[in-house]
């Protein structure tokens, strides 16, 4: 019965799912990377994702264009990011805990809105497969890589874009400076709080799009707490990827591969205790963190609020 898992078409199917399912992880953890590189740990990603997922879904459900849905998600994500920035940067609160507050707020509010405005589980027709001409005709690889919906492509496009912004632009230089040594950055005239507000807005927008990618891209449905803690994984993926975009990509693909395998094992009714299998990425993440915690160069000012000396 395991033979079924190893046929070419199944393997292609699994890899296709893997590429596709990495989408929310990518958006959310790339967004989180911006925040953490600037020294702000945002543990509320899951709450922002839920809000983004709801608003995107609601807008599309009301008959608007899918991209309007994405814009709605971005708008709410920026607002949630501003809230997080106000609490963490201006009010200098303990970042891990304020993130939990943001998470609970987003979780509760998205459920409240969902129950009040929609009421029952409904479906929408989300983003369609968009096969890229010629490239999608490549046998095997074409289906795996070039036969996805627009949000999936956008997620992968965000990897080099994020890399470029962080490593090759003035904003990125400021982000890294503020995350590494806020005192020095401040002395050089960089607005520490301004940069951190910016990264929180970027991170919030990307987290919300991650949510939208679930509700109008992959599952095309909204349910209470539909992220199931995915946002928390996204935070861990940033550590896992050593604060580098390429590492974040690797971590996202790892988690999505396991998700894809689980889906296919279920679909093919292979009697593997999949609950055990799905523990593996979490255990692996802990192991990787344990081995690398002392070596990797993390932003020196991570989770440290900054206050100008008198």
């Amino acid at each position: 019965m395991f033979d079924e898992l190893f046929t070419i078409s199944t393997l292609i199917g699994i890899l296709h799912s893997c590429v596709r399912l990495a989408t929310p992880y990518l958006f959310a953890s790339l967004g989180e990377t911006f925040g953490q590189r600037s020294g702000v740990l945002n543990l509320g990603v899951d709450g922002i994702m839920l809000m983004g997922a709801f608003f995107a879904f609601y807008v599309v459900f009301e008959g608007h264009n899918l991209w309007v849905g994405v814009l709605a998600a971005i708008a709410i994500g920026v607002m949630m990011g501003l809230l997080k920035a106000f609490v963490s940067v201006t009010m200098q609160s303990l970042q891990g805990i304020s993130g939990i507050g943001l998470y609970l707020f987003g979780l509760g509010l998205s459920s409240l809105l969902f129950k009040t405005l929609i009421g029952s589980v409904e479906g929408v027709s989300g983003f369609r497969q968009l096969a890229i001409p010629f490239l999608s005709d490549i046998p095997g690889l074409g289906h795996i890589l070039f036969n996805h919906n627009a949000l999936v492509y956008l997620a992968y496009l965000m990897v080099p874009v994020s890399w470029f912004v962080i490593n090759r632009t003035t904003l990125g230089l400021k982000i890294r400076a503020v995350g590494h040594n806020p005192e020095a950055a401040d002395t050089l005239g960089v607005s520490v709080n301004g940069v951190r507000y910016t990264t929180m807005m970027i991170g919030g927008a990307l987290a919300a799009v991650a949510g939208a990618s679930l509700s109008i891209g992959l599952q095309n449905v909204f349910q209470e707490n539909m992220t199931n803690g995915l946002g928390f994984i996204a935070v861990a993926l940033v550590y896992f990827g050593s604060w580098r975009t390429i590492g974040v990509l690797g971590g996202s693909l790892l988690f999505s591969l396991v998700n894809a395998l689980q889906l296919w094992v279920q679909a093919l009714a292979i009697p593997v205790p999949s609950e055990i299998a799905v523990m593996m990425p979490y255990i692996m993440t802990i192991v990787v963190l344990a081995f690398t915690a002392r070596q990797i160069q993390k932003p020196a000012a991570l989770a440290r609020s900054y206050e100008r000396g008198e």
């Binding site: 200098q92 507050g101 609970l104 809105l113 609950e275 055990i276 344990a290």
Partner: protein
């Protein structure tokens, strides 16, 4: 203590209350935006939670796990670590207690009951101790590991409740509700009010609050936990084995959460089922923060949030305002409470050396983690 300090202390206590009020006001605005009558909703909430004996006993029943988790959160915070893993620790505690209680049901109740509680606590201790050990020995961020441990615990539960721990009666009857067999009735925690769910776990939780207070402020171990939490570097120079106390804080924190799971099983559900943790792992953090991270403050705080949870359920049934409002309100309370810490901290800094009181300096928590400054 002079008047100014007395006033400052009073403000400290009132800040969370103020945070709650602001959260409720924001809740009013939300409800108005959604076209519901906030007065109707809130009165249904208060009426449901405190309006009659049934409401009050349900409130206290919900407050019990919140208090136990909140106590665990207090210890972790005071020790300078953050435990986000309450949910997972509750789940493994409940699983272990169920497995033990069902597996050794032939033992006399006098032995079985305490051992069942202990097995839940032990499972939580291990589940919290692993992140503690990883933090202490290898410097792994405990926020991430506790989050991962939550996910692992949930999957472990899904696996066990669909396989090895699935109720044999359900298997025989052909139904497949993922829940375990029932505990022997002899180890159900005695009811405090007949015909309600209110059980003696509440007394245990209050006693433990006193015990945690005693531990933290009247013993060497507690003194060291707090010292490490306030300043690990100074503690190291003073000869305190910092890694040991970091591990201990998280392990004890996990132990109390595990116990909360065991108490929920033995007092309320009498078996293990999905959704048993019910968000207590997060709500307990809210209660602990609200109680100013003081074990005795956690007692009224957990009662308040127990009331909020119960009242919200009643509100949903009575006036169709979704109970999720309570979760959003909790989030707002957290955001306001942690924001108000800025005020407390600024004032504390102004009067450094003023008195030897134990201000909740834990607000500096994450600064301590990676920096040597201050």
């Amino acid at each position: 203590m002079n008047t100014r300090l007395y006033l400052a202390k009073l403000i400290d206590v009132l800040l969370p209350v103020l945070a709650m009020l602001i959260a409720l006001v924001v809740g009013v605005l939300l409800l108005l935006l959604l076209g519901t009558d906030p007065i109707e909703a809130y009165s249904a909430l208060i009426q449901g939670a405190l309006g009659n004996v049934s409401g009050i006993t349900q409130t206290l029943t919900k407050a019990t796990p919140l208090l136990l988790v909140g106590l665990g959160i207090c210890i972790a915070f005071r020790g300078g670590v953050i435990n986000i893993g309450g949910e997972g620790q509750i789940v493994v505690g409940a699983l272990a207690a169920t497995a033990f209680g069902v597996g050794f049901s032939s033992l006399p109740a006098l032995i079985l009951l305490p051992l069942t509680l202990v097995s839940g606590a032990a499972a939580g201790l291990i589940w919290g101790g692993i992140p503690g050990l990883l933090k202490a020995r290898l410097g792994v961020n405990e926020i991430l590991t506790t989050v991962m441990m939550n996910q692992i615990a949930l999957r472990l539960m899904n696996f066990l409740l669909r396989g090895p721990m699935l109720d044999p009666e359900h298997v025989a009857a052909g139904t497949s509700i993922p829940q375990s067999a029932a505990l022997p009735e002899s180890i159900w925690l005695p009811r405090l009010v007949p015909r309600t769910l209110f059980h003696s776990g509440a007394i245990l939780a209050v006693l433990l609050a006193l015990a945690v207070y005693f531990l933290l402020w009247r013993t060497t171990i507690g003194y060291r936990i707090r010292a490490v939490g306030l300043n690990p570097n100074a503690s190291r120079y003073a000869g305190i084995p910092v890694p040991k106390y970091v591990t201990l804080s998280l392990a004890l924190s996990g132990m109390l959460c595990g116990l909360a799971g065991a108490v929920e099983v033995m007092g309320v559900h009498h078996r293990m089922l999905e959704g048993l943790s019910g968000g207590y792992g997060f709500s307990g953090i809210v209660a602990a923060l609200f109680g100013k991270l003081h074990p005795l403050g956690a007692i009224p705080a957990s009662a308040l949030f127990g009331a909020l949870l119960v009242g919200a359920d009643k509100m949903q049934r009575a006036v169709q305002v979704p109970s999720a409002l309570a979760i959003a309100l909790q989030g707002l309370v957290v955001l306001f409470v942690v924001s108000s810490d800025l005020y407390v901290r600024r004032r504390t800094r102004r009067r450094v050396g003023d008195d030897g009181s134990d201000e909740p300096l834990v607000v500096e928590g994450e600064k301590r983690e990676e920096s040597t400054e201050e």
